[in-house]
Amino acid sequence: MAPTSLRSTLSSLPDNAPEAVVDQHFSSHLLELLGFQSQEIHPQYPTGDGKAVDKAARKTVGDDVFLYTKSNPYLLLELKGRDCNLSSDAAQYQKAVKQLKRYLLAPNCKTAQWGIITNSCHIQLFRKHGRVIYPATHCLALDNENADKVVASIRKKIESPSRALTVAVYNNKGGVGKTTTAVNLAAILTFLGKRVLAVDFDPNQQDLTSSLGIPLSEGGVLEALTQRDIELLSTLHPYKFPLKRINSELRFDVIPADKQLVDASDDALRKLLKRNMLHKKLASARQEYDYILIDSPPNWRFFSQLAVYAADVILIPTKHNNLFSLENAAIAIKKFFPEVQAEKGDGSPIPLPIFFNGEKITPAQLAIAQQEISNIIKTAKKEGFDLLSYFYPRYTAAKKDLHIPQIPSYANIAGAAFSRTPSVYRDRSAHEYYKNLAKEYFLQ
């Protein structure tokens, strides 16, 4: 039987339908339209930390039927009643998103890649990659007219997930360790068995390229960005690190900085390039790599905008002893990223919580930094932004947890550039600290 239109189901729902009614009449139809048969859906699926999510679903593989084996869910659905306001500025929406995120990260749901919240008036799709959860659509209003189209677009997304998580490393303050972070994260993720592409998108500094001893591109990258039929991946240059074991090496790919981009002015580039060009050009890379890391320049000019547009999430290094690096992070979160989100139209990119990169922090210095951060958060609140979760992700109304991840810098981390080798391959402590960062932010 061909799935029927959602329209009649929607119009038959009473205006104030509670969760049970939405569940009964709407959710099974929705999941059917998303391509799941009744044996592929488990209601009240136990997440493994004592809670249950309204629906979990996975396609049948061979004779592994999800309803019976209950293993490896692919999609989680959190239902609300129509009496629960899920428009994106409502408090109930925030609560529902938090709930969904918690389910997605729970022990039994490690394999889940998608999460949906809906009350049949609104619907939003989230993607989970490792432990990173980011929106895959805006929070969309459903009505009789658009429902089928919206659901079809969601189905298209969940049937062709991109393999890669694209991360822009950005702070419009310079010298906070963007390049160091990008290089070492690329190196440690490679060490942990991931396929990684690093993109040096800071043509003025070119540090990522030169710190790995890779030759600069002589116009090739510019050409690939501006010409329709040249693949961006044709410009890549592998970075190889031989291991002691014979015949084995670590390898990640680098798209080097382009010399010719240095001279090009923003205006000239704007005539050749649209803001979405890097995102477009990375389409094939998104299926080939597990992680794409983009190193961006310390400003909010054209290159940064391309880099941020191309990203799913943005990693923001800051320095505890540099007020501007914290303030700039706040400005980017309040002003720059929402601009790009509005233009891109799928809810991404979202900023990840900040981390401290730099000199060892004494308790007194930490107290000063925390003071500054609470000022920043207070000021933002007056302007109508809630920055708390970007600075203190573990802080809740009942729990004043001020944890911020730290990477202490050593002479040997910065000095590794002289040997053209990422410091995580040379130095044990650096190796452990970046592994910790990778696990805390990205890996599940």
Partner: protein
């Protein structure tokens, strides 16, 4: 024993019917100053002492012993108490919730996040012997070790993460316990094998029917065990 109906009730009990149980280790200043405040501000202990019944009109403190000490210092005749049942699970929960005991986690199964927060807690205790242990490094090493098979916490001292035998390891015993899985006989991953003691390795080799074990050194054992099932 009187009826069990009192369990869960808030009761105003004579202080001399309550036995202190495990005494609080709160400093004298806190007890005296709190008692003074309590007397000044109405004399009602709004946060109750948690007691169990030990006989007719006889009770013993199992939680909030600080409040008991304050009430005693304040010279209260009667103190507000909640009656709990006396089984050991209840006592443990009460002590942990009252902040008088530290909850333990199962290191055999704990997630990386749990290990990290546990270590973070210990390292940041005042005057902790673990000062100087690098949280990120210790978490990585412990998380990656084959801890599901550990019978004791001793292998942590071989992980080179700054936690040595003695005071530092003793600290960890406060928060970690182990429920080890049975060791499979077929581990061939040299990285995991390396973390076992020679005694464990010999036992493993014996199970697999390898001969000449008694003369083998650790390296020999490792090379034999890592090949044997290929």
């Amino acid at each position: 024993m009187s009826s069990l109906n009192d369990i869960g009730n808030l009761m105003h009990i004579y202080l001399d019917e309550i036995e202190p149980g495990e005494a609080t280790d709160a400093p004298e200043f806190l007890i005296k100053a709190s008692a003074h405040l309590l007397n000044q501000k109405g004399g009602r202990n709004w946060i109750p002492v948690i007691v169990k019944e030990t006989g007719d009109d006889a009770y013993q403190v199992i939680g909030n012993s600080f409040i008991y000490a304050v009430a005693e210092e304040a010279g209260l005749d009667r103190v507000w108490c909640i009656i709990a049942d006396g089984n050991s699970d209840t006592v443990e929960v009460v002590k942990v919730l009252a902040g008088e005991a530290i909850p333990k986690i199962n290191l055999s199964k704990a997630s990386r996040d749990e290990i990290m927060s546990a270590l973070d807690y210990l390292i940041n205790q005042p005057a902790s012997p673990l000062k100087g242990v690098k949280l990120a490094i210790a978490t990585n090493r412990i998380d990656e070790a084959p801890r599901q098979y550990w019978k004791t916490l001793d292998p942590i001292t071989n992980l080179k993460c700054g936690i040595t035998r003695g005071k530092k390891l003793e600290e960890l015993k406060q928060i970690f316990y182990l429920v080890p899985e049975a060791m499979p006989d077929t581990i061939t991953d040299i990285g995991i094998l390396k973390t076992f003691s020679v005694t464990d390795l010999k036992a493993m080799a014996k199970k697999r029917g390898i001969v000449g074990i008694s003369k083998m050194k650790k390296d020999d054992l490792l090379s034999v065990l890592s090949q044997s099932s290929d």
